[in-house]
Each structure stands twice: as structure tokens, then as C-alpha cells.
Symmetry: C2
Subunit: 211 residues, 2 copies
């Protein structure tokens, strides 16, 4: 294949938004979640995040990255104020409203965009009512990335709410059947189709597909 190569001196000379899109799309597809929070006065906030990753299963943790000088400032402030947030999956059909939460609204994105919220089990952060997978998290720790002042937050998973019938016998949440979207860069939303599932890999043995 005919390749092209780019180096630091190229990156520096690119126009800012081009560079942003290029590096936001560099490492492949990302998860698509709405983070729900509220401050101590009960003012809610909703923001789209593509950086949620798995951190651990026992006990369960997830992590996500915040850019303090960028859009989702309210989310981080609320998380610091009450220590709680929700993670809500974005499915096909929700991408317009979900994407719109990235705009700089003054008040709550729930009311500005007409997104219905709900509360569960007295957890002090709002869930997105129409999201399939809803996760309640408490902040566990916060790490400042010194290189660029972004902040990696680790949340301890308290509860998971999801529709019945979408967990396989071995524990997989079937995001393809729930029409959960995958994302490229900051604005491009994709549906998915299963290619293959494998069994646990062993060295020097042929891989087995999972049926």
C-alpha cells in the first residue's frame, strides 16, 4: 500500500480544527456515552463523552478523560461537588440530541434539548430515560495529566440498569443489538455489525470461534 507519513513539524503547521479532527480520529472507534451530573443545588447537566474506558471488573471501575478548558466543564465541576455521575449509552436515533449536548448551553442540556431524565434508588445524579444501558458511578480518584492538564477520573460502578434480554449467557452486553453507536473523531457516528467472537486465546493452539 502507498503510504504517507506525518511528523511533529507537520502537526504543528496544520490548522487547529484539522489537527483536532485528525488526532481525535487517529486511534480508531470510541464508545459513545452521555454523562449525567448535578450540582448541590440540583441543577442538572448532560454531556457527550467518547473517552469512557474499562478500568476493572472486580470491583468494577471505569475511567474517562476531561478537558478542563473545553466544553464539558460543568460535568467536572458537578462531579467534584457531589462525587456522583451516570453513564448512559447512546443508540442509533439518539445521535442528534446526544451530539447537541456538546454545544455550550448555559443551563441544563436536559431542559434545553428536551431530553427526559429519571432518578433511581436515590442516586444523586440523573439518568437519561431513553438510554438502554445506564450506569451509576461514584468518583474513586482523579489524575492530572501533566502534559496537557487533562484529567482522568476513575469511577466505581454502583449499579447497572439495562433492558432485559441483551446479556449473553457468558456475560456480554449485546451493544450491536441495542444499536449502541460507535464514534470516530468528535462528530461521526457509526452502527456496527458482528464480524467474529473468539474463545479465550491459548498459545500454539488454533483459535476457536465462540458460537
Amino acid at each position: 500500500m502507498k503510504r504517507q507519513s506525518f511528523y511533529s513539524h507537520d502537526f504543528e503547521n496544520w490548522e487547529g480544527r484539522y489537527r483536532g479532527t485528525f488526532f481525535n480520529s487517529l486511534a480508531g472507534f470510541k464508545s459513545c456515552n452521555l454523562i449525567g451530573t448535578q450540582n448541590s443545588a440540583g441543577q442538572t447537566n448532560l454531556a457527550i463523552f467518547f473517552s469512557v474506558i474499562h478500568v476493572g471488573a472486580n470491583p468494577p471501575y471505569l475511567g474517562l478523560l476531561f478537558r478542563p478548558h473545553s466544553v464539558p466543564r460543568h460535568t467536572l465541576e458537578n462531579i467534584r461537588e457531589n462525587g456522583c455521575f451516570t453513564v448512559n449509552a447512546v443508540a442509533e436515533g439518539m445521535e442528534g440530541l446526544a451530539h447537541h449536548t456538546s454545544a455550550k448551553f448555559q443551563g441544563s442540556e436536559f431542559s434545553a434539548l428536551g431530553i427526559a431524565l429519571e432518578y433511581k434508588d436515590d442516586f444523586p445524579a440523573p439518568f437519561v430515560k431513553s438510554s438502554s444501558v445506564q450506569i451509576a458511578c461514584k468518583v474513586e480518584e482523579e489524575h492530572l495529566i501533566k502534559a496537557n492538564q487533562t484529567i482522568f477520573v476513575v469511577g466505581a460502578i454502583q449499579a447497572v440498569h439495562l433492558p432485559k434480554g441483551y446479556i449473553t449467557s457468558d456475560g456480554l452486553i449485546e451493544h450491536d443489538k441495542l444499536n449502541t453507536l460507535a464514534v470516530n473523531a468528535l462528530n461521526s457516528y457509526y452502527s456496527t455489525e458482528l464480524v467474529r467472537r473468539f474463545e479465550y486465546a491459548q498459545p500454539h493452539q488454533e483459535l476457536k470461534e465462540k458460537k
Copy 2:
């Protein structure tokens, strides 16, 4: 929709592999990359990672999470030894070999699995020759997640190599056209199809689709 809810006392009672699959699939689709490294003696290593995320664009950084007591131990040791690693996109057709790198091989996964490597620009870590997008990174910083001893590593992007003709005029790397895979849990690989691209969102204005 009829929902089910799970709480900490449920998580604790699940069988370990079921719990692992559940939480690895919880937050949605993930990126799929092979991390290439070598130690100071030139012994190479290749391991599949689903945790690579965007950390910054100017200058460009990415981050990924390591489980020190699990499979990809050689990768972290090599990164600590020579400070360099490569990130290589996994496309449809490569998923078998890529998945197999998660097995506990004694020597190099490149030779054990017959995966061709290549070097570029005297960068001291191997690239996967057949990968479309190849990224050269130097370690910038390392953060210990106290909750479970996982390690978040931030890499400074030195160079990007990719096939000609797959960057849109606004900077998007077209991973769908490169057939880059998305992943659910630790073993399920998906192709993607574009649903929608949006313009930058403004509050109280209708969203515009990007053409």
C-alpha cells in the same frame, strides 16, 4: 422497556469470567489496536489493546491502560525499558492474529504468529507491517490507578503513517473505509457503517449534518 438492575452485591456473586465479560462490555464499543514494543536487547513483543484513547491534539497525545498482573506485562516492561511503543490499527481480516496475541506466549508474538514487522525512521519499536494506521509514541507519563493497581500511560505521538487517500478534507481518518474494527468486551469484533456526521454544535440552533 422492561429493565433489570444489578448492584454491588450482585457483581460480587457473579462467576469471575462472567463478571469480566459483563464489565468489559458495559461502556460500549472500543478501539482495536496492536501495541508493538521491544526491550533493550531487541526482543520484540506485540499485544492487543482495547483501551487506547485520545488525550490531546496539540501537541498530540494518546493514553492506554495496563493491567500489570494480567497478560500484557511484557509490553509495560518494554515501554519502561526503552520509552517507546507503536500503535497499529486492526482491520477486518486481521482479527484472528490480533486476538491470538492475547495468549501467553513466551517469546515474540511476531515470530510465534508469523506477523510481519517493520521499522521506520530508526524508531526503536516495531510496527505491524499490514496495519493501515501506524503510530509512533514516546512515553510521556505514567499514572498508577490506586483503586486496582492498573496503570494509565500517556504517550506523545511522534509520527503517523497511513495509506494515502483516507483522510477527509477536514482531517478525519476514515476508519470505516479502512475496515478498522470496533470491539466489545475482550473477544468480539465488529465492522462499522457510517450513520451520520455532524457539524460543530451550537446551542439553540438546529444541528447541521456534514456533507
